[in-house]
Symmetry: D2
Subunit: 367 residues, 4 copies
């Protein structure tokens, strides 16, 4: 079950970059959630390439088709299957990958592990497989919205450009004002410039994506091996190119003293329990504490670059070089935001049901 | 199954800080592995407190007792149960936690989630529960050793003191020369000073622990949701106080260009496939590539400090303060190294079996 | 994950009787198994109705389409998705089920559990969903065949007609000589007559299907909760209309003494270990012993009959009657044979991989 | 995780017949359930041997010790670990099993699978390991009782003696009136005689145990692969010596017509939905329908008998004979009743939580 995640609300992902189709089976969604193909299409469009100069020029329609699990416009408790048929795949671009694995890519590992590898478009190693995440995430987000939970991902760093002046109050709107999905207008401009300059030189650049979930009640997550931060880290690591995950202050907390970063509790005016700061990122002891859940992921630069690189020839058993043609993203971060939101939503939906906050079989029943 | 991790080689952890006992059931270990209580005791001793001025002065014997799964000195394929009976627990220290949750601790979340909470010593929220990790990890390490896999964790940062000059060649020996488990002798001294100064002021400090696994073959890990880095991130996040996980360059890669960090493949003189650099930390596409697996975790400062802190009184429903007495670690990082090694070993053992590198039922059978 | 079965070789089933499509995602099949749509189509044709007067007259094309997991004619280690689009579904037949649940059917339970129910054709409660079993089973059978394992299911009882004179030597051929899939030619005739007479009276009849798996090595199955017979029982119970499962002598053994039924071991002429009898059905202590695995399932009469029956009206909250029109099977047993073979194959494939008999990732690698 | 069962309420069983201890870790029990060692001891005493002439004369104290998961007399949401230390084990009785596997036992399979086998007392193949079931079952029963669910198992057949006149109205009392746990007083006498005569001749006899769960709400069980009957069948098959499981009419339904056995729905005087008959055993489409859940298991005669039997010598590689000494049960059925109750309770508890009938983390919270 290497392609299934989630215990109660779970998704099983399938498909490859240039195969017939990609998709996901979403199991364990409570019945009576209104759901349409449009709900999923909106989210898929966010991760689709070809929408700005910052992404690959590949045009991928990525049209969702739901083939099971919906009855009269609502989920009915049976597995929901969403499929995206591949239509714009050009396989000739990838023939040289077959025996000369691309540096920074999983090609070599796929060959080692399985002895056979659909190298076209990177097969199932392609970032395109996150379509499965987004199908599951779109449904999870719709479910979470019924409970007042909202999730937003945004770019906080590209290369050495950091967003220091993020408009957190109007984050949703402000990230739509630029193609980088950054909430700091000034930084966004510099990020765009950096990405375009990398594109020009046939190179790519990494970045950091932050995800914030608001409205999450206290008590999600199960110690010890089902901790909320553990499950988030696992699914965020399943996103291609992610090399690090941190919660709240994250690596910054390594430098700190407890007296500086312990979040002190207090009752606010409406008798709600809150913490003055949120250095823990909303998670203590592996469980949510009612504050926003904040995570950040390190996204490495897309390894496909047009520069000639050294590698090996597996067939000849000797050193070789590779020059990767094709249409690649100079920076994947803006598109990763949609996937990070989805990944976060899947885990939160699973824990909301498992934690007794959402009825497991029928959304119309109170819990 | 919130207390079970691993799919084939799995551990089920149980127990709390001041309950009768702590321990783990280790299931799925192949038969015919020589195993004694001594093998586990050695690892438990590494995480045991009270061994230097840098740790809490609590003396915990932590004596392991194996009550199942061993026959004539060898594993026999049945679940191995290791138990550590609690002997030195003083519960009076913790009575004030009951209604006034400690900032930075999970106390509040436990109460919210379960409506009842063994607050003594932090109950199952205590770092003491990592005894379960170490029982599982000791067995995993013994199993991995038969395949030439070695795992070592060391401290690379405490507060703002970074180890820049680590003796990677003699890491195993060099980290034993100081109480911080740091491979940079100069840095170790500064780290010790920093920890002791924090101890003096009733404060604590965080740090970073790096784990390196060598001898791991290419092909471990299962895309998409069983990726090796995803599984490592999940288990590392299950260690108390961990707020971030990174693989290879990790967050550093966010700043980089692909041309700088792509690891180029080559055949070495013995026809082995290697990469010139190891920025990927031995994992590409979620699978091991044959290079050392390198992870780093951000460990926050132990939240228990003697300073008065603001918090709430859950019984009275009003703001309050708390002063935490008791014997606490001014820096948990040196002790975390043993747990990080164990956590890493559990995941690698599971994937070695699942990947077809170790026979799933009988170590004497070839695969 | 209520729609997923198997731990390593697993299938996730989806779809409903009158929805857009039915199918399954098969995960964990080792790479390098030759597999075509034809391999699955052959098995689907065995369970397809409309092939004789004994089954429903519904014509269901049930054409398989594989949309992922195959590369150049072979499995590549990624999830295999098989889809059957529904084409011949007539929903008007079922409108009266909506509020008046059919006796013997799950309609009422679906409504109670989910509060919404796709009653058309019985929704996901329909026997039609065993298409998912067969997709998984076809792949499992192909995989098992590479190891010399063959599986055959046949009808041994319909109503009170028992097959006492089964041609076990030529079972595969003999069951093809009649429409009941019975290896006793005389009994088959009586069974056919019984089924047709039930059909005439708008009634239906039950029966028993036996499944035999040969070539299974000793050592499959994991005590205590992963026993081979336990896993077989679970999956066989997932087949619609099955109300009982027995292994070997099964319920007959309740009447016996150990001295009568203990299977004595011996070395045959080729030094193979065998038992003189096979009353255990090839399973001892939850593990295969090298003898044929023999199971039998009790299949109840198809509950859809044209007779007027008493039931309730959920909308009006009062007692009511129902008359079920539509095209139903007077006896489902002949078609169940294909599903029982598939179900058995799925479990055996999973255990063959988990037991170290088949390499988990690459069929070309020796174990 | 071969020794773990249940998805949310799960038990991990460990230990062997003559090892240091046996027990179980019970995970996922909601907090705030009052629980004492006495609650478990009562159930363990029911399965304990040596209580009548019908069972083995072995005296096993089977004293439970709870070492985790209880705080101030209540469950606290952390894993509950129950241990029974072995005290009365005599290993010299079993030395001849080492190389000459007992017919009807799993000895041979254990050796084949693991290459090492704790043959003393049958190791983990012994019926003694059902202590783990009972520890989990006792907790599950206590939890279910808070919801009005009661479970009772009784013997309905021993050899060819069937209980035809069972006092179902006073079942709980009537089965305590005899040592066979049979609700038909006349049959019980004949059963006792049969068992004693088998004991006299150094033989054993099988039987059938029926389990009835009342108070179960409609809607438990998850189609397709988490069906309630599938999960019950799996766990019941995990009980040593069980060779068949049936629900409701079971194998009898194979002989019937739908018109005879379809359970017709009706509203009773209190507007409750019921069925006139309960041939389905309370389960339709894999889900409970609100009627009593009725299962029956076929228990084979204990294979350990004092008669000389043919077997093989694995060391010499030749045919051999074996004479089994020791103290064995001439009929295990009376003791199996306690285990069948426990097994049923575990599955129902798991499904009650997963189905949204019991709050997953805190029994004091309404659902």
């Amino acid at each position: 079950m290497a392609n299934t995640i989630g215990k109660t609300f779970s998704i099983t992902s399938f498909g490859s970059s240039h195969g017939k189709a990609l998709g996901a089976v979403v199991d364990g969604c409570p019945a009576n959630l209104e759901l349409s193909e449009e709900d999923i299409q909106i989210e898929l469009n966010k991760r689709r390439p070809g929408t700005s100069a910052l992404t690959t020029s590949r045009q991928e329609g990525d049209k969702i088709e739901i083939v099971s699990g919906i009855f009269e416009g609502k989920t009915d408790g049976t597995p929901i299957t969403g499929i995206v048929y591949n239509t714009n795949q050009i396989s000739k671009d990838y023939s040289n990958i077959k025996n000369t694995p691309r540096p920074g890519h999983g090609d070599f590992c796929w060959m080692e592990k399985y002895g056979i590898y659909d190298y076209n478009g990177g097969g199932r190693g392609s970032g395109r497989i996150t379509i499965g995440h987004v199908i599951g995430g779109a449904i999870a987000k719709k479910l979470l919205k019924t409970q007042g939970i909202e999730i937003i991902s945004h770019v906080v760093q590209i290369g050495d450009v950091k967003a220091d002046n993020i408009d957190y109050e109007n984050l949703k709107d402000s990230i739509e004002k630029n193609n980088v999905k950054c909430g700091d207008e000034e930084a966004a401009k510099l990020m765009e410039e950096l990405i375009l300059s990398k594109k020009q030189e046939g190179n790519s650049v990494g970045g950091i994506v932050e995800t914030i979930a608001t409205g999450v009640p206290a008590g999600l997550g199960e110690p010890v091996f089902g901790k909320l931060d553990g499950d988030l880290a696992q699914i965020l690591m399943s996103i291609n190119a992610v090399k690090g995950v941190e919660i709240g202050l994250g690596f910054e907390s390594a430098k700190s003293s407890a007296s500086e970063i312990n979040d002190e509790f207090y009752y606010d005016e409406e008798e709600n329990i809150k913490t003055k700061t949120n250095n823990s990122g909303g998670i203590l002891g592996g469980m949510s504490n009612g504050m926003p859940i904040v995570s950040r992921i390190a996204v490495k630069p897309t390894p496909s670059i047009s520069k000639i690189q050294n590698t090996i020839d597996l067939e000849k058993g000797e050193n070789a070089t590779i020059e990767i043609s094709g249409r690649h993203d100079p920076c994947i971060c803006p598109r990763v935001t949609a996937v990070a939101e989805s990944a976060t939503a899947i885990i939160l939906a699973d824990h909301m049901i498992r934690g007794g906050f959402i009825h497991p079989t029928n959304l119309n029943k109170s819990i």
